[in-house]
Each structure stands twice: as C-alpha cells, then as structure tokens.
Symmetry: C2
Subunit: 267 residues, 2 copies
C-alpha cells in the first residue's frame, strides 16, 4: 500500500499552531516519525491564506527534506501554489490535487506533463461530488481524457473516488467500492487513494468505521491511502488485509512490520 502521511496538515490544530509559531522542530519531528513509520510520501499542506501559502510550503518542505528523503506530496486547494512549490522539492512527488473544478487540471497537468510527478485526481467538478457511480465515472473519463492529452500515464495518477459521510448516505462505501472496481478494471496500473476518516463524520466510535472502510476499500482496489502512518492499529490492519488478499507471500511484509515494531502491541 502507498502510504501518504497526513500528519503535516495545517488544518490539524497543533500543526496550524506550529506554522504560526514557525516551530521548525515540530515540523521536523512530525516528518521524522512518519518517515520512520514507513510513509511512502509525506503530505505537506499549509492551510494558510493564499498570499502566504507558497512561502509557508517552501519553509515546510525544506524542513521535511532536512530530516528525510521520503518524497513530498504537495497539498493545496490552489493549483498555482501547487506548481510554485514543485521547485522546492528535491525529488519528484505527488501533487494533491486536481479535479474538474475550475482551472485546476489545466494549470497542473501541463506543468507535470513531461516529468515524473504524480497527481491525485478527485472525482468531482464544479457541481460538487456526484451522487451516483455513473456520474463519478463520467468525471473520471473526462480526467483521463485530459491525462491522455498531456501524455500523463495512468500509473502516475492517484484517483480519489471521494467518500461521503456514511451517517447521511448509506451507499458511501458501496458507491466508492464500485468506482474502485470499475476504474481498476479499465486501468489496472492506476492508483486509487482516499482519506480514511471522512466516512465516519458525525458517527460515534469513528475509529471502527474508518478501519472497516479501509479493509473494504482495499479489497475493492484502493492501493493508496492518505493516513497517519503512526496509527498502529490502522497500519496493522492494512498489512493484515494485504496478507489476506494474497499480496504478501508467506506474510513476510506483515511479519517484517511486526518485527520492526510498526504494528501490533508496543514493545
């Protein structure tokens, strides 16, 4: 599983505070613990007003790169901030994200066209998140047409089919899973990603819903997740699910993660 570490997001109150206070050590520490927990990418989201976003991303990205070589996932609602942050990164990473909203895709795709940068693409447009599987697949096909236009291989895309709140829409998982299956069938090398907590918004004991969602989404073809890699229970379930789905021969990865102390009870 591709693990996009989510712990450096300015919308998390303690991170937002560290950004205001220019707390270098806090940022570096959060980068380090995610790298140690085997994050594949480290998401960096400033969550500040746009006029100070690029400088904030620069500061955060440079701090992360002081402590780890794990590539960056540049996370901003502004496509302009995303492309301006690319030169700060020592290695190719992921842009998070495009969708069919506004000009996003036309700002970002030309810039990453002839690079090794990857990109998260959300299945929504100016009208919001489509309700049905069919409408989301229409958005998907339009995104893939744009990707083709800019010669971006499907293997460089992380499609986020978008998950809504289970408490208000009982098809939240089943719609998501059906999108996963159709997308993977059409493009076997594409990645599918998701955050793991929107699904449980407003429900009690959210951890349980998030965990079961992850197992079911993984089973439907999701192979990437925006997640806290230091969440041992969730990480453990990811390793367990992959072993059960015949993606970890002799459970070697699972046993390895346990021996490294990443999953299971803390020693």
């Amino acid at each position: 599983m591709i693990i996009i570490g989510e712990k450096l997001n300015g919308s998390i109150p303690v991170v937002g505070e560290a950004i205001i206070n220019k707390d270098n050590e806090f940022i570096k520490h959060r980068a380090k613990i995610q790298a140690e927990a085997n994050a594949t990418y480290i998401d960096v989201c400033a969550s500040v007003p746009e006029d100070m976003e690029v400088e904030t991303l620069k500061w955060m990205i440079e701090l992360v790169q002081e402590v780890t070589d794990v590539p960056i996932c540049i996370d901003s609602p502004s496509p302009h901030s995303c492309v301006k942050a690319i030169p700060f990164c020592k290695r190719e990473g992921i842009i998070n994200s495009v969708s069919l909203e506004g000009e996003k895709i036309d700002v970002i795709f030309p810039v990453i066209a002839n690079t090794k940068w990857e990109c998260v693409a959300l299945l929504c447009d100016d009208k919001g998140i489509p309700n049905s599987v069919e409408r989301r697949m229409e958005v998907f096909e339009n995104i893939m047409a744009k990707a083709k236009e800019y010669n971006i291989d499907p293997s460089r895309l992380h499609i986020d089919p978008l998950v809504v709140t289970l408490g208000t829409d009982e098809t939240a998982l089943t719609t998501f899973a059906e999108c996963c299956r159709r997308i993977k069938k059409e493009y076997p090398t594409i990645h599918i990603t998701s955050g793991l907590s929107n699904i449980s918004f407003g429900l009690p004991a959210r951890k349980l819903i998030n965990q079961a969602f992850m197992v079911l989404a993984r089973n439907a073809g999701m192979d990437s997740a925006i997640v806290d890699p230091t969440n041992r229970d969730m990480l453990g379930l990811i390793y367990a699910t992959e072993a059960l789905l015949e993606e970890d021969e002799f459970c070697l990865e699972y046993i390895g993660a346990y021996r490294e102390g990443l999953i299971g009870n803390k020693k």
Copy 2:
C-alpha cells in the same frame, strides 16, 4: 450478524478448570456476560472424555439456562453427545456440528429433521479439509443433498467453509471468500459461519489478522460468527462493517450498540 458466543468452551484453560471444579458461578457468569453482550446463541462445549460428556453438557446447559433465555449451541465432536444434549435445552438452538466425516450427518440430521433446530455444517470429510474451492463445493453439495433428504431447509444450516492458517496457505481467505460467494448465490437464505481466530494461527499480532478476516468474510457473505461477543473491538468492527455494507439504515444498529455501551471506548 448472528453471534455465537464462544466463551463456554472447555478447551479454553480457565473454562476447562471450572468444569473440573464444578464451578457453577463461573459458568453462569460467562453465560450472563455473553447474553448481555447480545450473543444470539451461547456455544456450550464440554471438551471432556466422551463417557462424561453428556452429563457435563447437561450441567453446563442447565446453568446457562438459569441466567439467560439465549438459545444454546450444543458443541461436541461426538454426534451422539449432540443429540443426547438436545432434551436439556428449553428452546431450539444450533447443533455444532456435522460434516461429511464418519456418521455425523446420519446421526444428527434424522433427529433434527422435523424440528426447528439449526445445524453448523463444516465443509470437510474423512479426507480432511479439501484444498480447493471446487472440492469444498463438492462436499457442500453432498451436505445439501443430505439436508434435502431430511427436509432440512437451507435457512436452518450454518455452513462453515473452514478457514486454514494464512501463514502456511496464502489463499486461506480468498478460498473461504469464494466458497461464501458461491454458496450464497446458490442458497440466498443459508447462513455462513466461521470461527475468527484459526486464520491467524502462528502469526504475530493475531488480533489484526482476525479483524481484517472478519471484515472481508462478512463482505463475501458470512453472516454468522463463532466469536467472543465481549470482544468490543471485534464486535465494533462487525457493526461498522454491516453499516458500510448497507445493512444498517442510518447506522441505527451501530449507534444503538454504541449507546448501549457494547462497542467503542468503555465509558
């Protein structure tokens, strides 16, 4: 989900000790906490030599029935002990189990033929647990032929497709899940059951494998489980999985279980 409470099994060391010591209060307490945790059935397994099994089952069943009306799941490797224990039960429950091993099915099916008793049927025969999906489905079809002969409706059967150890067979879950899908497709009203811990035998952090197995098996059609209903994490994941699979409108069961204090962090 049908929850068959597993905490009164003589093969669990503390239970075996309580049986030797004729510890009435221990047996009643374990029955009570399982009933309070919403067990659908309470499994009663003596795990003693056969010559004292029937009297031990009688003692256990009567103690359970002193504290709860939850029906009994009579659990014995001996089909003769199973049928002899039926008269001790105040209500119809489940016999655990038949298979195509030896004379089991021919001893038990005639006795429960014209009753409301249900029965667990394991997909194995005198040669052991078949390796392939196809061979297990052959055993299944032979069991269903016997059920038809005795006029036992599919809805009275809890098929256990049998799960092997993931550490030695990476198809443990995928074989199980494929059996579930085929069985449910052929007989939509049949129940599918399983224990939730064999899969992780020999692996570290077994809880993780057991939990992910449950979510994936539920998704494949398993609707019954032999489990410790007081295991809050597992019970919580069962409720969460059913809500995600559109089997719990508005998450009412999930929220209800949380409010009753059955799942989520202990208050």
